[in-house]
Symmetry: C2
Subunit: 328 residues, 2 copies
DNA sequence: GTGAAAGCGCTAACAC
DNA sequence: GTGTTAGCGCTTTCAC
């Protein structure tokens, strides 16, 4: 392996000077700079990042926790994060929690072992109480998910509003028996979505039937199962509000096998506005989330925090948009 | 920050002994082991990985290059890679090349700056000639894509066969005017897919019409554009063989807007067997690829290489399977 | 079994 | 402007 010492020798200079050139530090004459550059080229020198990291006590890597890579919504967030990261010369370490509490917590050792300079969380499995002790080991930022009482910066969407306009849409379409398929965790997002729905129902003099509340459904397959469950009920909702386009797509797919018509027999509203929402038939009415945008904001915030800038921890949420298509 | 020195002091022992305990080395008495463990717990000590990496001259990180994270096929490969990586105590650094030649090449600096111990490539933008000089900087393994003349281990699928059975299926259905939408790069995969198609055509006394060959289409949007192009032709194919379910889905979607019937006006065959293939209507006939499996094999090979085991560079390809649904 | 000491490759005071 | 030197936190001879 070629080291800085080799380059120094080859250029007839000291390691300090070579280091200055590598890091674009001032106080090096053009002449010596050229000498160093030549030596580096000739020897094919590349600085050893482990050594740099040990010396500088930072890695320039940010850990990004997502539930799973199969969900386009999180890929979009990553896209936004990556864009800003690249601009700031930071790398990403992408970690799948698989929606597992323990895995999520374990990834905080990245911070403790100094493998990353900070962590961005896009989903939350644990309660804030579980997290809070880990937050001392380095900057942590929440992106998408949030807690009311967390003390770290949170980049969030206006889930309460989003859920409200979705529910209103169903009510305006004449539905009075509305089911809900949502997270059911203790996070702010999860609570706010349910709150928004309830608010809309209440305003219309309706209430949320406990039999029509379904938790922890994420995938297309989950959606299909859910549809089977619903079909088996005596008293069925006429519309269902879901937490993701995947679940909604599963419901629609299964409804066809079951010989039921969407939206006539069951109206379905998704969440995310993924590509699949356009592809499936009937096309999915859904709530569009500016996912890439929150990714960008989260990373910008991380950069600010790493630069010791003070920032507001609880930023106001961005707005969501209802996309009306054919499933409602 | 708590260092090994702190732990040593606290336990009243030397740093060497602490290090032995951390790394489960023999020749430490149970008594002292306990002393060290207690000190580590009490102080909340975690070893600094930059220091470990510098000292050990390895990172235990493998770089994985994929074109983009939005493609489920590559996510599946990653899933397989990750499974074996976890078992071997290795971490993954996932990198998107965005199908950019330069970006792909740039990621090899990860190897040169010792940020990763090895690289797994799942797609190829550059020719083998471009790559070969970089291969000296550390272990490189090809997974999915391959070159005939490459000197690195290659985990591959039997693309020639896969393409052949797909084309045969189309021919058996009575099609004589078959279009092809494929990579068009110099990689073995790209060449073999075209070869398999040509072989099937030849056997049936047909040939590939140059007007019906389309390159570099990857996304749903690309598929829609492609369908528009095809529709605008005077002499149109009656069936099209695509390189991915996304493109195929785009074709189907657009055909509906255009008022054309799949498969009657145009039969479409996909590649990958992604979730979308089941969801879209008509459901997609496609070639199933054991993507997770090649990911696993690739990582197993990487582990073997890192352990200095000799391995065969050009392993025989795994077989592909035709899934017949409604689009053909 | 245990410890002292050297050194992985790099950067940054500090001296000149 | 440039070089000398110390040290980031860790592991591993080598001596005892």
């Amino acid at each position: 392996m070629i080291t800085i010492t080799d380059v120094a020798k080859h250029a007839g200079l000291s390691r300090a000077t070579v280091s200055r050139v590598i890091n674009n530090r001032p106080y090096v004459s053009e002449e010596k700079k050229k000498l160093v550059r030549n030596a580096m080229d000739k020897l094919g020198y590349y600085p050893n990042s482990s050594a740099q990291r040990l010396r500088n006590q930072k890695t320039n890597i940010i850990g990004v926790l997502v539930p799973r890579l199969t969900n386009p919504f999180f890929i979009n967030i990553i896209e936004g994060i990556e864009k800003i990261a690249a601009e700031s010369g930071l790398q990403l370490l992408i970690c799948q929690t698989k929606s597992d509490k323990q895995k999520e917590l374990n990834y905080f050792t990245l911070l403790r072992t100094k493998q990353v300079d900070g962590i961005i969380l896009t989903s939350l499995e644990n309660d804030w109480e579980q997290f809070s002790p880990y937050v001392d080991y380095g900057p942590v930022i929440l992106c998408n998910e949030y807690y009311e009482n967390a003390t770290v910066p949170m980049i969030r969407l206006n889930q309460y509003e989003g859920s409200y306009i979705g529910a209103r849409h169903l009510i305006d379409r004449g539905h009075r028996k509305i089911g809900y398929c949502g997270g059911g965790s203790t996070s702010g997002l999860s609570k706010d979505r349910k709150r928004g729905l309830k608010k809309a129902l209440e305003e219309a003099g309706l209430s949320l039937n406990p039999n029509w509340i379904f938790h922890k459904r994420y995938s297309i397959e989950d959606g299909r199962e859910l549809m089977k469950e619903i079909t088996a009920m005596e008293d069925r909702p006429t519309a269902i509000f879901t937490n993701s386009d995947e679940v909604a797509a599963g419901i629609i797919k299964e409804s066809k096998e079951l010989g039921l018509k969407v939206p006539d027999d069951l109206a379905v509203i998704g969440f995310d506005n993924q590509p699949i929402a356009e592809l499936i038939e009937p096309r999915l009415t859904t709530i569009d989330q500016p996912s890439e945008e929150i990714g960008e904001k989260a990373m910008e915030t991380m950069v600010a925090v790493l630069n010791q800038q003070k920032i507001d921890t609880n930023l106001k949420g961005l707005n969501l948009k209802l996309i009306v298509r054919d499933s409602t």
